[in-house]
Amino acid sequence: MSLTDPTSPESPQSPQSPEPSGNKAALALGDDALILSHRLGEWAGHAPELEEEMALANIALDLLGQARTLLSLVGEEDDLAFLREERSFRNVQLVEQPNGDFARTIARQLYFSTYQELLYGELAGGDEPISGITALAGKAVKETAYHRDHAEHWTLRLGDGTEESHQRMQRGLDTLWRYTGELFQPVAGVDVNWQAIRATWTSSVTAVIEQSTLTVPDGPQESPWAAGAGRQGVHTEPFGRLLAEMQHLHRSHPGASW
């Protein structure tokens, strides 16, 4: 069943249709940025302190800008964001995981921003001629460096903080660990050395976790239960509710504007 609004004058882009691999890459990376941006936006009004309110909203804004640029390479950005069904989204499952407490959000930020910075860095530094994606990567990698820096500082403060903050930070890292394997699944059209990215990611994240007096989770990074198929359109249960929240206004009031 299609969730597309029948009153909408035009049918949305059809993401299921065969696309050039460049578009698949832009869709995957754009969806990562869009969905994480939405999750971080959920903190507005709820962050533990004013500075974090600003920081998380600013990071969300950076990600939204990346998402808009990337999705515009694929089609009409609003249609892609608001009129697609769950199975058409290509983001990794990590970014759709609920915020949980602040420590879990930081764990998600640590895992994802480290990955995103490495990925953008590889894309920007490649031999490929400047394309829409590499131009975006070259710009966004500088922003993402600040996102990673933010996550690293908080991991350290929470891990090496109080007994309570230490336990929560460890729990956040443990809870999300099984979604990290999926990050390194090759994406069609993204010509990077995935093994090298995985190795650098692992050493970087390990160094931060150990410095924070925390323990690198020892569970599998992918398992049947981790599903690990966001890039193929298979998502976890909380994602449906996220989409409902994110898409509701646009679908309820087609064509509305400020």
Partner: protein, 202 residues
């Protein structure tokens, strides 16, 4: 494309570039777009037709729409009915693109200008933990030690201090990497105790 050899056209193009460059930044109206370094190109394509290239400071900069509209309005007012403003991302904007005059105005406005002549990325600061620490790590390392190899090189050199725009003291501390806008960090001066924004380096 029309011939571009007419000196009158060249003069007009220069004049229009000046006008577009003089548009104030919507979020930091103390700066012009030229001083911010975001106006990349302005071309006179033909009579009454101008093409403008604009680059955003940050990918998600919400001011880019207003900037485009302001440029179009100014050019319309000066007899150019057809204005196309395009956003370009590459080469990526850097805080080094802010002109010397722009940096001076920022400081005068109370915003510490970005530091120059360095590769972009977060400048390492030791994490300043509060009084409660669970178990002190054996040797509190500067954050640079935590940076992955990809960015470690950019943080190798000792960064110059961010000076307080009020009193000029170099004794300032970072409160938050992210302040009122994505491009600024929030700091506090330990000498005069004033908080201030710092245009952070990218």
């Amino acid at each position: 494309m029309t011939a571009r050899t007419d000196p009158a056209d060249t003069a007009l193009e220069a004049r229009l570039r000046e006008l577009a460059g003089a548009v104030a930044d919507p979020e930091l109206p103390v700066l012009t777009l030229a001083e911010l370094g975001v106006l990349r190109e302005l071309r006179l394509l033909g009579p009454g037709r101008v093409d403008v290239e604009l680059t955003p400071t940050y990918t998600g900069c919400p001011a880019i729409g207003t900037m485009s509209a302001d440029i179009a309005r100014v050019l319309h007012e000066h007899g150019i009915p057809e204005v196309t403003v395009r956003t370009v991302l590459a080469p990526a904007w850097s805080t080094d693109d802010i002109t010397a005059e722009g940096r001076r105005k920022l400081a005068e406005f109370g915003i510490a200008p970005p530091r120059r002549n360095r590769t972009s990325g977060p400048v390492p600061v030791p994490v300043e933990l509060g009084p409660i620490r669970r178990r002190r790590a054996a040797a509190p390392a500067p954050a640079a030690a935590l940076a992955p190899a990809a960015t470690a090189a950019s943080t190798a050199a000792e960064p110059e201090p961010v000076r307080c725009p009020q009193c000029g003291s170099a004794d300032t501390v970072l409160l938050s990497r992210f302040s009122s806008t994505a491009c600024k960090a929030l700091r506090r001066c330990e000498s005069c105790r004033e908080p201030f924004d710092h245009f952070k380096e990218i």
